[in-house]
């Protein structure tokens, strides 16, 4: 039984879906009223026939209408065995400003197609209009409203004016998330709001819960200035089942939180400029009602010691306009910049100026009078408060010695030297001078000098390598020294030749060639004779040189055994032959 019902339900759903998919959708936009008054509520509905899955249209902000999306309502209807699906997207719009406004044409996407609604004009009027429901601005104000209030509607420039913005909420109306008010304040300086004060008030016999937001404003320009209209954001919470009020029953369908901006009326203030008549010279712009007090400590001191002059201005008014009181002639004092300490609380405040004075001479007997002038806006006149002069007793300093003051540290009196502060005197000597541009590290000469140790190190390493090779490689050592030894031997032989000592010449040149060939080819000296020519042939020595070498050894043998055959010419020929052989072998290593 249940299975059959379930299958039947599935078939119905599939059929509905099929129908929905098969047909084009239809989009209809409508409003419940086209002419409304300020604060009236309009219900704007976009009905989509033939689908429940079309996208929710994105409604842009419309000037003059506060809009809130309430939600979708879906519907399935079967008429004459034909089923249809629809969804209605509902928006609530509160008219906040008079004028004619257009709810623009909206686009809805469905299965790749775009459907558009028509644009709708809505007229918002301030006066009477056809009333379909009891949702008028006047009625809205009966339940929740915002009021700007000051103690006076006239003020002077820079006068501090306490301002209160009050949110009236009728008893029984639930409001949450009340934010701080905002309001245009061109021509005023405004301090941040203090914490809201909650109170009860009865207006025309109706009980309200009132939230007062106090602040202080000060006009900076004169003329007719306008504050506001102020606005305050809050959430109205309404539960129709609990509400006993038909207004809210008609406004909201069920318990809901509704974001609302409550607006006040604009508020005009007449700001007068400060009068020129009677303005004292010592007036620096302070506006309010102030007291002035002057204290000097210590009044008995030595030259060079500081006096702290504490000037306190306190009272009601714009404490920011209070400037340093005007002091008399202070040429006999060294004057430092004053320390200023300000404390404010609402419209009241206190400003303390601590001025350090140091008498330059013992002739000083008093601190001149100090004047403080301000403008009192209540009677609208300038007032000047004068304190002093204060008599002081200044003793001469002790021969320019640094003075001492007594301090209390950890319960013990200690003397601490107070040192003056100034620049140290100039240098008497010129010191080291230079005419060089830039610094030493980018001087080319300096950088080049740094290469010297590197070159030395390179040479040392090269020397060490060679020394190691001479020690370990005897053949290399012999070959290396061979030409030098040969050159010496040949020079010696030439001397013998020039002296006619052919016997000595012969033995010297023979030994030189033996030693050279021995060193050059790492062979024992004694075994080197004409037979070496065959060995050298295998090493690729040119035939010409080998012939010359053969000639040399043969000539040596002849000369050694037949000394009478030696003459200068032969000796020279032998010497040249020896030189040619050695040069060849050196150049073909």
């Amino acid at each position: 039984m249940y299975i059959k019902l379930f299958i039947g339900f599935l078939v119905l759903l599939t059929t509905i879906n099929y129908l929905a998919l098969a047909e084009d959708i239809q989009v209809i936009a409508s409003v419940d009223r086209k002419v409304v008054r300020v604060a009236d509520v309009i219900t704007f509905t976009i009905r989509i026939l033939g689908s429940q899955s079309a996208s929710v249209p994105d409604l842009p902000d419309i000037e003059g209408l506060q809009t809130k999306y309430v939600g979708p309502r879906t519907q399935i209807s079967i008429i004459n065995n034909k089923s249809s699906l629809s969804v209605s997207h509902v928006y609530r719009m509160v008219a906040v400003k008079t004028g004619t406004y257009t709810i623009p044409s909206l686009s809805i996407q469905h299965e790749g197609k775009t459907y558009r609604t028509r644009a709708i004009n809505v007229q918002v009027t301030a006066g009477s209009a056809p009333q379909d429901k009891a949702t008028t601005a006047e009625e809205l104000k009966r339940y929740i409203r915002l009021v700007i209030n000051t103690e006076s509607k006239t003020a002077y420039v820079n006068e501090s004016i306490p301002l209160k913005i009050s949110l009236y909420i009728r008893r029984g109306v639930e409001v949450e998330n009340i934010r701080y008010p905002t309001f245009p304040s061109v021509g005023f300086s405004v301090i941040p709001f203090e914490d809201a004060v909650r109170r009860r008030a009865s207006v025309d016999g109706i009980l309200y819960m009132v939230y007062d937001f106090p602040t202080i404003i000060s006009p900076v320009n004169s003329g007719e200035l306008t504050l506001g209209p102020a606005g305050i954001d809050c959430d109205l919470v309404v539960n129709s089942s609990q509400s006993r009020d038909p207004f809210f029953d008609s406004f909201f369908d069920r318990r809901a939180r509704y974001s609302l901006t409550v607006k006040s009326e604009a508020y005009n203030i007449t700001v007068k400029p400060l009068p020129e008549a009677g303005k004292p010279d010592s007036f620096n712009g302070a506006v309010g009602q102030f007291e002035f007090n002057l204290v000097a400590k210590p009044v008995s001191l030595k030259v060079g010691e500081p006096i702290t002059l504490t000037m306190t201005v306190k009272g009601v008014g714009n404490i920011d306009t209070v400037k340093m009181p005007v002091m008399g002639d202070l040429t006999d004092f060294k004057v430092y910049d004053p320390q200023v300490n300000t404390q404010k609380s609402g419209n009241k405040g206190e400003k303390i100026f601590e001025q350090v004075l140091i008498p330059r001479t013992a002739r000083v007997s008093e601190i001149p009078a100090v004047k403080f002038s301000y403008f009192d806006p209540s009677p609208g006149i300038y007032k000047t408060l004068i304190k002093g002069p204060i008599a002081i007793d200044v003793a001469p300093s002790e021969e320019d010695q640094p003075f001492e003051i007594i301090e209390f540290t950890q319960g013990k009196a200690v003397k601490r030297e107070v040192l003056g502060k100034d620049i140290v005197y100039i240098k008497d000597k010129p010191g080291t001078i230079s005419h060089r541009e830039g610094y030493l590290y980018n001087n080319t000469g300096f950088i080049l000098v740094q290469l010297i140790p590197l070159l030395g190190l390179g040479f040392a390493l090269f020397y060490q390598k060679r020394r190691e090779r001479f020690t370990s490689d005897k053949a290399y050592a012999r070959q290396y020294h061979a030409p030098k030894k040969a050159r010496k031997g040949l020079e010696q032989a030439q001397k013998f030749m020039e002296l006619g000592k052919y016997q000595d010449f012969c033995s010297r040149i023979f030994r030189t060639m033996q030693e050279y060939l021995g060193d050059r080819f790492n062979l024992p000296f004694a075994g080197i004779t004409i037979e070496i020519v065959d060995e050298l042939r295998q090493q690729g020595i040119s035939e010409d040189i080998l012939d010359k070498l053969s000639f040399f050894f043969q000539s040596c043998d002849v000369m050694r055994f037949a000394q009478s055959d030696i003459d200068m010419e032969k000796a020279r020929e032998m010497l040249n032959t020896a030189k040619e052989v050695i040069e060849y072998l050196e150049s073909n290593k």
Binding site: I426, I433, Y439
Partner: protein
């Protein structure tokens, strides 16, 4: 013989030339000092400045010029020349004291720069030695180290000893090098400058309509990051950056 005489005369003339330059320098310096002592600070500034304009560099010259500028109320120039003197002789207590005094007169807290611990640790010599002195020191240690190595190569019997000595020089070099490199980096890659006008606006962007980020006062030390036409991107000691228009500063 003639050659020797010619070379000798050349040496004497070069020596005389240098001697006369030094004498001219000293004469002007002492004259400026006298003017300063007579409290004729404007004239003293002119004399000291003439030496600077001739290209002379000297810690005492810059220091005295800084004093003279401070006396006539030119905080910016005073800070500039104290900074220059500090770079040449950072361990001079007088230079340091007067630089701090001049900076304390600058409005705002632009100059309250505290070096981070790693900078103090690795660049500890920066506050004691000038970059030239560090260059000499590095050079001497480098020479000595390599001479010790070469000696070890040639004198084999003392090879170990010489290599130990070279190691000591090498360690000293490693200690000094970060300070030296830091000093070169600061001088060559960080264009530091002193503001010369009473107050100047530093903006978020290089145009006149841009919002003012902060103000710099006369004597504030800033770092020039880059230039774009009339505008220079500058950085304050606390890291805040912005664009400064015109030539309102002098490079240290």
């Amino acid at each position: 013989m003639w050659k020797i005489i010619t070379i000798l005369l050349l040496f004497i003339s070069i020596f005389n030339c240098f001697n006369s330059i030094a004498q001219d320098y000293e004469a002007t310096f002492f004259r400026a000092n006298d003017l300063y002592k007579q409290e004729k600070y404007d004239e003293a500034v002119n004399e000291y400045q003439s030496l600077v304009d001739l290209g002379y560099k000297g810690a005492n010259l810059y220091y005295n010029l800084g004093n003279a500028y401070l006396k006539i109320g030119e905080k910016g120039k005073a800070v500039l020349y104290y900074e220059k003197a500090f770079r040449l002789r950072p361990r001079d207590a007088d230079v340091r004291a007067n630089l701090n005094f001049a900076k304390a007169l600058v409005e705002g807290n632009e100059n309250q720069y505290i070096r981070p611990w790693y900078s103090k640790f690795f660049l500890f010599l920066k506050g004691f030695l000038s970059s030239d002195e560090m260059a000499y020191m590095v050079s001497v240690l480098y020479f000595m180290g390599i001479i010790a190595v070469i000696s070890g190569i040639f004198i084999r019997s003392r090879k170990k000893l010489f290599f130990y000595v070279a190691g000591v020089f090498c360690i000293l070099l490693v200690i000094i090098l970060p300070s030296f490199i830091g000093s070169i980096y600061e001088t060559e890659f960080q264009d530091k400058a002193v503001i010369m006008v009473d107050s100047a606006d530093v903006r978020f962007e290089p145009n006149d309509d841009a919002t003012v980020h902060f103000k710099v006062r006369e004597g504030s030390v800033i770092q020039i990051m880059k230039s774009q036409g009339q505008w220079n991107q500058v950085k304050r000691y606390d890291g805040k950056m912005g664009w400064l228009k015109g030539n309102v500063f002098s490079l240290i």
